[in-house]
Structure formats: structure tokens, C-alpha cells
Symmetry: C2
Subunit: 224 residues, 2 copies
């Protein structure tokens, strides 16, 4: 099981390939799946079962010390069932994650990368940006931003404290999907900016009412 930043995968694939026996199962936990297939698959001997995986769980902390018993419980694990991989190998990796309490689902690598661009990569990009904007403020304002962070900003700083190398690699390796959803976000933000500038309260209230419904859906899906 490979669990490193994505930029290390190609080299890891080259190095471990000679040691992989026929019938071995190779899986990973990387946050992007098309790039992982691109970087690993060419190196693998034909009789190795490759099951790209992504346990969607974690905190802003990294490394073995950041683990805890409930980390995976009730969360989703996404596995990619490649056409050339034996279904039994996919099922076996799935059973391992289920024993840790995860719900296992399979989807295509392309679809995975699109979904995660929305749910994970764009939120991290936005959080990094807003915290970066705050760090560039004049000093008098910056110290107060830290003191009064409890009013919303704090939640962004938690996300923006995630591992820099891991996240650099995610953005570089899921470029198209991230840029596409970022474009949509930019259009929506520009519309909201315009509504504020022109004092269009109804438009603001309409959006803010719609977004509440999404929160309720998440609570109902027990992902809160």
C-alpha cells in the first residue's frame, strides 16, 4: 500500500516493480486517481493486481502519530476497479477498509477526480488563499485577525494547516478538474460580488437560503 505524496509514485513504482510477485495486490491511498494510474501502471508486472484506492477521511495533521481509532469509521473509501484487475483483488482491498469501519464504493478514476475536486481540492485551495490573503495584511490588522478568528476565519486556518507537499502534489496532479470547478466558483463569486455592490439583498438571501439545504443533506447523510 503506497501512502506518500503523489510526486513520489512514479519513482516508487520503478523501484518496487522488480520485487512484486505474481498475484500480489498493490493499492494506495492517494487523493487523485487518474495521475496515480498514469504514474504506477506502466511499471507493474502483468500479474500484479493494481487497486487504486482513496479512503476519504483525515484531519489537517499528517503522519502515523495523527492516526486515531475512529478516523475511518462511517466514512467512504473509493476504490477504482480497473478493467484489467481481478474483481477478487478489488473485493479484498474493500474488505480491509470495511474492517476499519469504512463504506466502500467503486467508481471510475475520472469521476473520482471530478468529485474530489469539488469536495476537497477546491475547498482546500480557497482556504489556503484566504489565509494567505490574511497573512499579507498590514501588521496592525493581522494581529487582530488572529484574535478575532473565532468568527469564521478559524475554520479556514484549520484546513489551510494541511501538509504543504501533499497538497502541492494534489493540485499539480488534478489540474484540469480543479481549474474547471475553480472557474465555476469564480463566476459565482463575481455574481455575488456584483449583488453586494448593487445592494441586491434578494439575490443574497436567495442564495443563503439555498445553501442551508445542502447542510441539512449532509447531516442526513451522517457525514457531519
Amino acid at each position: 500500500m503506497i501512502a506518500t505524496p503523489l510526486s513520489a509514485y512514479a519513482d516508487i513504482g520503478r523501484r518496487i516493480a522488480p520485487a512484486l510477485q505474481a498475484g500480489a495486490i498493490l493499492t494506495d491511498v492517494g487523493s487523485v486517481k487518474q495521475a496515480v494510474i498514469r504514474d504506477l501502471q506502466p511499471h507493474l508486472p502483468p500479474k500484479v493486481h493494481f487497486v487504486p484506492g482513496h479512503p476519504v477521511a483525515g484531519t489537517e495533521h499528517s503522519g502515523p502519530e495523527a492516526g486515531f481509532a475512529e478516523l475511518f469509521r462511517g466514512r467512504w473509501c473509493i476504490l477504482i476497479a480497473l478493467p484489467e484487475t481481478a474483481p477478487e483483488a478489488v473485493a479484498r482491498v474493500g474488505r480491509m477498509w470495511e474492517r476499519l469501519g469504512m463504506h466502500v464504493v467503486t467508481m471510475s478514476a475520472d469521476h473520482h477526480d471530478k468529485v474530489l475536486a469539488v469536495t476537497s481540492h477546491l475547498p482546500h485551495l480557497i482556504a489556503y488563499t484566504i489565509v494567505g490573503t490574511a497573512t499579507d495584511l498590514e501588521d496592525s490588522l493581522k494581529s487582530e485577525v488572529i484574535e478575532f478568528s473565532a468568527s469564521g476565519f478559524r475554520d479556514f486556518t484549520r484546513i489551510a494547516a494541511s501538509d504543504p507537499v501533499m497538497w502541492r502534489d494534489i493540485f499539480l496532479n488534478n489540474r484540469e478538474a480543479v481549474l474547471e470547478i475553480l472557474q465555476r466558483f469564480n463566476e459565482d463569486l463575481t455574481a455575488l460580488q456584483r449583488a453586494i455592490r448593487w445592494g441586491e439583498g434578494d439575490k443574497l438571501q436567495d442564495l443563503f437560503t439555498r445553501t442551508r439545504a445542502i447542510r441539512r443533506s449532509i447531516i442526513e447523510a451522517k457525514q457531519d
Copy 2:
């Protein structure tokens, strides 16, 4: 103490003014302070002490049922000491908040509005936008965004579940400060977008490393 959405203040000022006795202290808990002074002060009889206030604490829930004993503990309360208000009136309002566990600080209404635009108003605007972007996705993607929300998106939905009328009024009443910080955010986001498009990993990693330091400052300031 006025505790309503900001758009109700002017009317409330008109209605309560005739009932305010000389020596009465009027305060509020609104999230914008220049607009509150603009809307209330003209209505107040001369011998009323006006102390605009903002206890910077809260959750995404509203109303009396959403209160809990520790809500204000260890958080900041910002009071505006207007030149025409007796210092003893400001001190009295401050003591009340201190009894609820808050640290009290005074600053100008203009400075308050700038600080909160960064720490609270922009983060809410961004969260509303990204959750709105997700609600507009095609249905197949949207249902999965909810299921895989634990990967970052979830934190934004909590913020974007805040009261729509309260937040409409905040944006309409702190327009200049919000648009100014939004402009800075947009510039920074565009730079990051460009770094992703051109594969400039060093720029990404540099920013992601800088933003971690802000998180540490917040933990040290005990606002986490």
C-alpha cells in the same frame, strides 16, 4: 440591547426613542458597527448612552435555543467608545460581557468593520459561494458531493448554514470593507490559479507553508 438583523435597526431606533429615559444605556450585538451608528444615533434622545457592541462568538445556529453556557467564554467582545458617550456607560456594558466570560476591547467602528470583513464576512461569503457552486452541479455529481463532504467541503457547509437574513444585512451594511478584502482575495486566487495551470509547484508549496504559521498563531492565541 438590540439583537436583530441590521435592517431592522433604523425602525427600532424610531420606535424605542420616545421610551428611552435620560441616563439609559442602549447597546447592541450587531456584526457591523458603522451602519449601526448611522441607523440608530439620529433617533436617540441626547441623554441616552449609546454603546455599540459586538460579542464575537456564535455558531451557525440562531435564536435563544441556540445559546449555551460556554458560548462567550474566552472570546472577544468589541465595544465602540463613541466620543459623546460617557466612559462609565462603556465600562458598564463591558463588565456585563466580562461576567459572561468575554475579554472586552474597544476600537473605532471603522476599524471593527475592517477587521470583521476579514475574519468573518469574507469567510462567510466564500463559504456561501462554494456551497452555492456545489448546489448547481449536475445531479449525479451533487449527490456524491454530499456523500464525500468529509474531505473539506463539510466545514464550508456549516458556515453556509448561517441565518440568511442576518447575513444579507451584514453584506449590505459593510459593503465597502467586504468588497475591498474580496478584491485582494480575488487577486491572490488568480495568482494561485495561474500557478496550478503552469505547474509551478514551488509557489504552491511556499504559500501552503506560510498559511500553516497562521494556524499556529491562532492556537497560541487560544482562539482555536
